[in-house]
Symmetry: C2
Subunit: 446 residues, 2 copies
């Protein structure tokens, strides 16, 4: 068995994305992803997936060169090797992270976002070489299926007229009835039993009404609302007070650790005071979740010390891979903070990776997020499926997925054919196509 | 390849131990250890080692039974399985941990101490089955050799007269000159370049004198002093002030997180005040290290929030194995706390395990502790060696060690022949042989 890496292939692609709305704008009709393939001397190929914007691609290319002749099992070495790749500082400072609302943008985080694609590819190759599923390389699954939640979006029926795009069959959702109808479809198609609504799109009262409509239509189903930091502390507290009895958690109502800590502290204060007045049974506010103020190891200390968040939503892409995700979970466990998983637009490779790592985290008590149902295109020979809202953990060697080279070529050709305008995910620019005067609203928006 | 566990063998042994002194008493002439062997369906045997006192053995036996038919790769499952083993509460509460000064004693910690022996055995077997060294199963080494420090002890030349024992050739060390002579031997025999003195044995002034003598004899060599929590806060501060310029760190001067936090805070306060008065260059006190107040994940939050310690000395035995040690290292890194390794009496299997995991921790900036040079007996066909104070990381499959069955049988026979008096490590009882009136001193002793 020869585990030496002899080839690394990077394939940027553009995949269809429906017109999903968020506080910054709307998803473009196509979004960039990067497919990573690592090939060993024995001819085994492992696949990974990460962000495909140019800034990631710029780092991935020199990084890939450094991996040749290294061992595919040398996962710790990926980080030291990544540190040797220079990051163009113009990619780090002064640039709004327009696409994914992915939190702070640092050189280290860019590196980790690139490393994660390679780490997953190495784990896939290593698993195939050893005859072990990826979860076994992470110490073994503790559950046979991983639960996901339906990721509801306000959306238009179609991308703006005249824009090249793939048509989706989800219809529009711009009011409570539309959101409930979308949730029904999600439940019908995939069996999801918990729902997350991407908010920050309409004034808070409309989104409160949408969550209330969901609560009425799906009693007992865990619900979440995520305005991506669009609200002030006061608005956050108001929404929390109004939806406190139906929300599993409130995700990033306000932007940044100090604001989140204030929301958290004032909710606890209010609950204490209510309890002093005899309102005993009331819980201490709505738990706050984040994938925006805790997105790097460097942000944990302040947030945990201030009790700013009660749930961290990990994204293995920017945390640096599956092993780092497990480390994050251990840190959360140690500090009494819950952990679950965030999702940005992703394909089946990443869903498989998420499922493997999630299957190994003992105290995963919230269903994970996934955009996967929104992605009609994929690079796999066979799509992953949700049954009862769950993805079964695969016991085949590696990730248990197979690359479809025709599909990969087709999506890569789309990337090649693009004039550059879609190679950077830019929800603000996409919104301007429909609304020429649009600029990403200042925060807090409400 | 069949990774199913088909047999587990537990062999309690008694190994020779010199008359090393600590604040509770003296090491017994023989100390119990437990050797764990895990055998797979393919006939591959992995070895591990942990504490051998009866309370560990009592847990290890039912645990071993539960592992039959499980996969040797199912390392996460070891913890859930261990949770199913009942712990006799009389082993947990009201019992002083007389032997190892190993910190708090909880049911979970007892379980983790047992799990660690099995985890290492499973990693050894898995590595052998896959053709990978244990460090590769942990993501790969980031260094080729691991640095250890000389572990100096006050000691008698011999165990008390009339006690059956093996003779050692280290001589006595009961004053500064004896300690320096012992350090010279350590350096000559193993090349160690840093020194730790086990303190808490003599009044602080004598131990301060010993450390000063070491600093004079070995200028520029990192020095540590560890009185195992025997001092008051005031005494800790006094020693820190007197040795501040020569100590790499001070280990557990006072007992428990509140006392350590007070020492830490008052040192910082004094440094700030000195700096306000123009004493600019002075560092903010001596870093405090611990293997007593942070010995479980449950103790981390309080200690880190209070900045009670600046270095955590992990012991993979009671943290639950090599993978948990890596998680601890990640937590420490995240909170700006340094990590290194503690040692209790151990044999070559554990030294190999420590070396594998230490080789994978990127930010290991302090030499690890090891009792190994004190152990003249081992269960391996070939002893591990220190060169220049370092142990080379082995790239052979598994741990890279081989069990010597004759030696194992001999040491097990000693355990069988014992009337029970040595099967529990009890430094207090061992001291009473020389000093019939001895009781472990109340803390703080000075």
């Amino acid at each position: 068995m020869n585990l030496t890496i002899t080839d690394v292939r990077l394939t940027p692609i553009l995949v269809a994305d429906p017109p999903l709305l968020n506080t910054q704008g709307v998803h473009q009709p196509y979004t960039p992803r990067l497919i990573v393939e690592v090939v060993t001397a024995d001819g085994i190929t492992g696949v990974g997936e990460t962000y495909g914007d140019t800034k990631y691609l710029e780092l991935a290319r020199p990084f890939a060169e450094k991996l040749i002749d290294r061992q595919v099992s040398d996962l710790n070495g990926l980080f030291t090797t990544a540190d040797e790749v220079a990051v163009d500082q113009s990619r780090v400072f002064g640039q709004v992270d327009v696409g994914g609302l992915r939190g702070v943008q640092t050189a280290d985080k860019l590196r980790l976002s690139v490393v994660s694609g390679f780490e997953v590819a190495c784990l896939d190759a290593l698993g195939k070489a050893l005859g072990l599923p990826v979860h076994a390389l992470l110490g073994g699954k503790v559950r046979d299926a991983v639960e996901y939640s339906a990721y509801l979006f306000y959306k238009w029926a179609d991308h703006p007229e005249g824009v090249a795009c793939e048509k989706d069959d989800w219809g529009a959702a711009v009011d409570p009835a539309g959101v409930v109808e979308q949730a029904r479809l999600f439940k019908e198609r995939y069996g999801f039993t918990s729902f997350k609504l991407k908010g920050g799109v309409f004034p808070p009262d409309e989104e409160i009404a949408a969550v209330r409509a969901l609560a009425e239509a799906f009693p007992g189903h865990p619900l979440r609302l995520d305005p991506n930091g669009a609200w002030s502390v006061e608005t956050s507290l108001k929404v929390a007070a109004e939806l406190g009895n139906v929300l599993e958690y409130l995700e990033d109502p306000a932007l940044g650790t100090p604001a989140m800590a204030e929301v958290s502290a004032r909710m606890k204060g209010a609950a204490r005071s209510a309890s002093d007045k005899g309102g005993g049974g009331r819980r201490a506010g709505v738990p706050l979740a984040t994938n925006m103020c805790v997105t790097t190891f460097g942000e944990i200390k302040e947030a945990f010390t201030k009790d700013a968040v009660q749930v961290v939503l990990s994204d293995h892409h920017y945390w640096g891979g599956l092993r780092n995700t497990r480390q994050l979970a251990a840190i959360c466990r140690t500090f009494g903070v819950a952990v679950s998983m965030h999702s940005n637009t992703h394909l089946g490779i990443s869903l498989a990776a998420m499922t493997h790592v999630a299957s190994t985290v003992p105290d995963l008590h919230h269903a994970c997020d996934s955009h996967y149902p929104w992605q009609s295109e994929d690079v796999l020979t066979e799509r992953l499926t949700f049954e009862g809202g769950k993805v079964a953990v695969c016991d085949a060697p590696g990730l248990g997925v197979e690359l479809d080279r025709d599909k990969l070529r087709f999506l890569h050709q789309r990337w090649l054919d693009d004039d550059g305008s879609l190679r950077e995910r830019d929800d603000e620019a996409a919104m301007r196509v429909a609304d020429p005067g649009w600029v990403t609203p200042a925060v807090p928006r409400w």
